[in-house]
């Protein structure tokens, strides 16, 4: 059960603060579920510059979606 005082305090936060809180809570949930990837954030930022295979895969998904839309 959530603390009513906590909820009242959250309600008064600014939009940006609420967004930060959501990010914090999502991060906490991810950690609890074993998705605390640590350095992988940095690795991802580096890897996306050479992920041509991933680009091909995304294009295939887009093309499949476009075909499906045309056939509908």
């Amino acid at each position: 059960m959530l603390n009513p005082e906590l909820l009242a305090q959250i309600r008064h936060l600014s939009r940006a603060e609420k967004f930060q809180m959501m990010q914090f809570l999502t991060g906490e949930l991810a950690k609890e579920e074993g998705f605390d990837l640590g350095n992988e954030a940095t690795e991802i930022l580096g890897a996306v510059h050479s992920s041509n295979r991933a680009a091909e895969q995304l294009m295939q998904i887009l093309e499949a979606e476009q075909k499906q839309t045309q056939n509908a």
């Binding site: 959501m22 990010q23 999502t26 991060g27 991810a30 998705f35 990837l37 992988e40 954030a41 690795e43 991802i44 930022l45 580096g46 890897a47 996306v48 510059h49 050479s50 992920s51 041509n52 295979r53 991933a54 680009a55 895969q57 995304l58 294009m59 998904i61 887009l62 979606e65």
Partner: protein, 141 residues
């Protein structure tokens, strides 16, 4: 640039607290019935668009339901990444479908890369003026 919309660079702090002006583009992402207003980092060097985990969750996407797996380069080939199609609206332009590599990582910016942000939009950088312009790709009518 004809019909382009101009945006200023945004001052952002890096992990060491140092300020820098970077090209962040405000846009609205929509997935099914959920929309989120976000800022995406324009990265012409990135092969793909990248969506952090928490933004996908805010959009209502469910990780386990995504059918398409995406393979990132190097050591990250082992990290599970999903393909997620999202409608994106930039300013007053018509919404377009963007394909994102949806990761399990939260603490990264939304990255707008060559596939397929830069195939949907033309972007002109005015680095000396700390600004950029965006317009949709030319479509023959």
């Amino acid at each position: 640039m004809l019909n382009g919309t101009r945006y200023p660079f945004q001052a952002k702090r890096d992990e060491f607290g140092v300020l820098a002006d970077v090209p962040y583009l405000p846009l609205t992402l929509t997935y099914q019935n959920s929309s989120v207003e976000v800022m995406g980092l324009l990265d012409t060097g990135a092969s793909v668009n990248v969506l952090p985990y928490n933004i996908g969750v805010q959009l209502g996407a469910i990780w386990e339901e995504q059918r398409f797996s995406i393979t990132l380069a190097g050591n990250l080939a082992r990290v599970e990444t999903k393909g997620l199609l999202v409608l994106a609206q930039v300013g007053k332009f018509e919404p377009v479908q963007l394909a994102f590599a949806w990761t399990r990582v939260n603490n990264i910016p939304i990255i707008l890369g060559r596939t397929n942000f830069f195939t949907e939009f033309d972007v002109c950088f005015y680095g000396s003026q700390l600004a950029f312009e965006v317009c949709p790709k030319f479509r023959e009518s």
